[in-house]
Symmetry: C2
Subunit: 329 residues, 2 copies
């Protein structure tokens, strides 16, 4: 079964909202803010949000606005993270701070951060006050937790040892939280029961963990063009991914030395990075894919516990959980 | 009449909220985020917000939360602006990015941005949905406009000519907007009429314009210790303040050359900066103070158009408008 039409309609409508809201009279600022949206992107979070709303019979228009809100929020974090991580390429293009300079990149992120709230406010306008407050509570908590996750990620770069548990806690905050927020907000828009919203939250959270594990895998295995950013940048930046953690546990003394020497060395050559990546992959690839599968299964279980009102949406959400693990970029 | 007790009670309670909300388990991140609050600051925006709420009989607890929201929002903009402007000192201390590094400063600003929304959400919790939506609409618009103002401010640094009208438009966005937001939100919390909230908005807006004009004056005239940051940094950064604009209009050919040469020259010596400042002041000081007086008067007029329910709060708001012009730091 193909969901192309279903997904295309969501992406088209969410993109329309983004175009409508990210617009203003200060040209530079709005060009820099809109830049990454025009570079593609999977729109995975809006897809999850709108399909979650559809699953429980929510209003399309509200779901599109909230879908745009999570995508705009996500893009704000990408712009600021690229500065913090000194990344120079994203989606096959120079990052915002490379193209527009540091001050404008900070400002564009801040603008998108506020715009995300504007979109959310409009998505829930006219609903009962309890639901509005709940929506803002979910959204703000999410951003706070994402910031904490980014702080942990940066701290880990300077640490000798990071446990698998710590890694999972970090990606739960940094990545999975926004997926969980997306599915929860979809359920909230549709007026879902507390139980259903909690199940949707679990679907998003587990899908998000699976997504990040696969992201870490693809950083070592993907086709660089498809990936849209340099291969091995995680190694260069010293990111303590699940693959690195597992490999450091299993590798020989000699191999461990190579990993230690290469990890976080911003001057490492492509060859050194590749040698290091091969060692890491040897010990961790199967393990990481198995872990991603486990979290995907948890996501699917949570989804099954809900009484679907819309079969296409439910199947689309299943497909998205499968896609998370199977994707090549 | 002294408002010391009245103001102290507000500041104490708002500070308590800030301490309560800017707290979490990632030590570095929260230390960097809380840092500027512990360095003092006038808490002018919370004072305006709470007094505006008091003026129309609002609930104290809600006003304190919203007061903390605008102060936290203001602090987020300070942290990011200091990065963009390459400022190294604020409130007599190293700026956040100097003390904690660029990545952590960006992240601390982002965290505070989200925390401001969390405080606002809690301030309006349980109120009718229309008012909640209105509050978020005011707040988000405000941040969007502030970002636009900061973009204009940066653009102006690279422009040869900026008109007084353009300057006023810029400070209306960059500075006055948050004052207007503070007084409006205070009125909204108290359930004020549309007319009263609009009058409060005008009070805040005009006070804010007056505040920024005086800020620009103090940047050339204040005692450096009292100011808490280097004198003449506006000249070094090439800021097109009202004083610069007026002086460039009135100065002799020779003097204009000195201003042009010094403005935006980050390597200018203290002596060159001082010579330039003297020329600027000669032509613009009286003019700028007159302009600040005019906007203060507009703020007072707007205040007078409201039927006060609380005389102490009304007089305190009058005092704050006067203080804006009279202050030395």
């Amino acid at each position: 079964m193909s969901f192309e039409n279903y997904f295309n309609e969501i992406v088209t409508n969410v993109n329309k909202k983004i175009e409508e809201y990210i617009k203003g009279d200060i040209k530079d600022l709005y060009d820099a803010s809109f830049y990454l949206f025009s570079a593609g992107g999977k729109r995975l979070r809006p897809l999850i949000l709108v399909a979650s709303s559809d699953l429980l019979g929510g209003e399309k228009e509200r779901a599109y606005l909230a879908g745009a809100a999570v995508e705009v929020l996500h893009t704000f974090t990408l712009i600021h993270d690229d500065i913090m991580d000194q990344d120079t390429t994203r989606r096959g293009m120079p990052t915002v701070h490379v193209k527009w300079g540091l001050p404008m990149a900070i400002l564009a992120g801040d603008l998108l951060h506020a715009k995300a709230f504007q979109l959310l406010n409009d998505a829930f306008k006219g609903m009962d006050s309890e639901r509005i407050t709940k929506a803002f509570s979910i959204f703000t908590s999410s951003i706070i937790i994402i910031s904490e996750g980014q702080a942990l990620d940066m701290q880990f770069e300077n640490r000798k040892y990071v446990s698998e548990e710590e890694y999972l806690d970090m990606i739960r905050r940094k990545t999975a939280m926004l997926f969980s927020t997306s599915s929860s907000l979809g359920g909230l828009i549709a007026g879902g029961s507390e139980k259903d919203i909690e199940a949707l939250s679990q679907y998003g959270l587990n899908l998000g963990i699976s997504f990040q594990i696969v992201d870490d895998i693809l950083g070592l295995t993907a086709d660089e063009k498809e990936l849209g950013k340099p291969l091995y940048s995680d190694i260069r930046e010293g990111k303590r991914t699940i693959l690195v953690i597992k490999a450091l546990k299993e590798a020989s003394e000699e191999e461990r030395k190579i990993i230690d020497k290469t990890l976080g060395n911003r001057n490492a050559t492509k060859e050194e990075l590749s040698t290091c990546a091969e060692i890491i992959k040897k010990y961790s690839l199967e393990y990481a894919y198995n872990l991603a599968d486990q979290y995907r299964n948890k996501a699917l279980e949570a989804l099954q516990s809900i009484s679907w009102k819309n079969d296409e949406a439910g199947k689309a959400l299943k497909y998205l959980a499968e896609f998370t693990v199977k994707r090549r970029k």
